[in-house]
């Protein structure tokens, strides 16, 4: 539960338990019967761009998107599992700054890599995180996500979140983001005060120092290929 990638998704507790997608489906099915329905629709659409401004809004947007995908009954069928994974992957890709993550996990070894090596590493590392991450997300069982504020410092921001599991365990999760244009992109996730990137950096550094960068790549390849 605590190790590896964090369970990014979650509902917003109180009034909107399953995110925007859930309401859209419901509204489409029922057709806006009343003025209230139409108003509700408008409020949802207007509030999204407003929320999308800050780091919290953007993280929330991505979380809601993923929750909507994993809770969508149409996508529950095993035949559509791969399609579902693809959708989640895309939502995560939009919010993650893979380049920045790789730079930080390799640390001082990053600058020594050629362009091809960087690209290869980026793909492997993304696969490794996605593997862990997708498993967590697919096991989503109505965990709640409380957004507990953000600290913005120039082009860096921390979004503080608390995930409440069904067993009422509270897991503090901090998303570290960096601003790119008007997008706040995640470059590290802290679960219970443990940085994911720092943890991988320690492992990667230990492998490189002990043997070689090539060995690290082999180990990564092996890891992502195992079930």
């Amino acid at each position: 539960m605590y190790a590896g990638a964090s369970p990014l998704p979650g509902s917003k507790s109180s009034s909107r338990p399953l995110g925007v997608g859930f309401y859209l489906n419901k509204e489409v099915c029922m057709a806006p019967r009343s003025l209230f329905g139409i108003l509700f629709f408008l409020v949802i659409f207007i509030s999204v761009p407003v929320l999308a401004g800050g780091p919290t809004g953007q993280i929330r947007e991505t979380s809601d998107k993923i929750i909507a995908i994993v809770s969508d009954p149409d996508l529950k069928a095993p035949a559509r599992a791969e399609e579902k994974r693809q959708m989640i992957r895309q939502a995560v890709d939009e919010r993650f700054d893979w380049e920045e993550m790789c730079r930080r996990t390799l640390g001082r070894h990053w600058a020594k890599r050629t362009q091809e090596e960087k690209k290869e590493f980026r793909d492997l590392f993304a696969k490794l995180l996605e593997r862990t991450y997708l498993e967590k997300v697919e096991g989503y069982a109505g965990e709640k996500v409380l957004y507990e504020g953000e600290d913005i410092d120039g082009r860096y921001a921390v979004v503080k979140v608390k995930i409440i599991t069904q067993k009422k365990t509270e897991i503090p999760v901090h998303y570290k983001t960096i601003k790119n244009g008007n997008q706040w992109l995640v470059y590290d996730i802290f679960v219970n005060g443990v940085s994911l990137i720092n943890n991988y950096r320690a492992q990667f550094n230990s492998i490189i120092v002990r043997s070689s960068y090539e060995d690290l790549v082999d180990k990564l390849k092996f890891k992502v290929s195992e079930d």
Binding site: G107, R108, Y156, N198, S206
Partner: protein, 258 residues
């Protein structure tokens, strides 16, 4: 008996720790994360000096080969003993009961947390721990129910002597991975030994065999609620030993900062 054994282990640890720990810092320094990649790669930004950029260093691990042996032992111990035992226990005891039993033992350990709060000057924490103990021991049926959290919203303070030592600037010493007991730093082992004197559980029983069984039961009960975490760590890690060492270190350092 058990206590004197622990003291013996700890005094050995301290004797070993005092001498090489200082050198270990330097000896193992170059192997750890260097910061200069930042400068080569991009202009320096003071905000980048955060934890996720590797300025924090790592815990020295001069006994890594031995620790890795113990880690391997624990890995087998987990899959061959602890997990099957927990699984059997889980079928016999529902989760609600196991959580209650964990609460009961946690409640008994109040003096450790209260003393640690007091030593760090966290007076509110000290008061809250005392209040929690009174409330939970009475209204919470001897501590089986955490009513202080549920009804009064007073959470348990996760404080211990090792954090107190860290609070006063005492370094971690080095990493040690013990069989069955798992990861420790020199500092946390020392703190843990001290806690044996203020842990009331130890004063209830004269027979060390009985004490050992009570302690083991608490251990299995706690483990039974955390089955699956180690598998997750192992699955996500390229080197589970380093991943656990780093995770333990980050977690503890973070606790001291709080």
């Amino acid at each position: 008996m058990l206590r004197s054994l622990i003291i013996l282990i700890c005094s050995l640890q301290i004797i070993v720790a005092v001498f090489p720990a200082a050198q270990a810092q330097q000896r193992w320094g170059p192997f750890e994360e260097s910061e200069d990649f930042l400068v080569q790669d991009r202009e320096e930004d003071p905000r980048e000096s955060d934890e996720s950029f590797g300025r924090e260093g790592q815990i020295p691990d001069p006994f890594e080969p031995l620790n890795r042996c113990f880690f391997q032992f624990n890995d087998k111990f987990y899959f061959w003993v602890l997990k099957p035992v927990s699984k059997g226990y889980n079928t016999a005891a529902p989760e609600l009961l196991r959580v209650s039993i964990r609460n009961f033992f946690s409640n008994l350990c109040m003096p450790i947390r209260a003393v640690s709060c007091l030593l760090q000057g966290k007076i509110t924490g000290f008061g809250e721990e005392l209040l929690r103990f009174v409330v939970n021991s009475s209204a919470g049926f001897l501590g089986f129910q955490d009513v202080a959290k549920q009804a009064l919203n007073i959470e348990m303070r996760d404080e211990d002597l090792a954090q107190t030592l860290g609070f006063y600037g005492i370094g971690p010493g080095f990493y040690i991975h013990l069989p069955i007991l798992g990861p420790f730093s020199g500092r946390s082992l020392f703190g843990w030994a001290g806690e044996q004197f203020i842990n009331p559980v130890d004063y209830f029983f004269d027979s060390w065999a009985f004490l050992l069984s009570v302690r083991s039961y608490d251990y299995v009960n706690r483990a039974s609620l955390r089955i699956g975490e180690y598998e997750a760590l192992k699955r996500a890690a390229l080197d589970p030993y380093v991943s656990l060492r780093n995770g333990y270190w980050q977690y503890r350092e973070n606790k001291i900062k709080e």
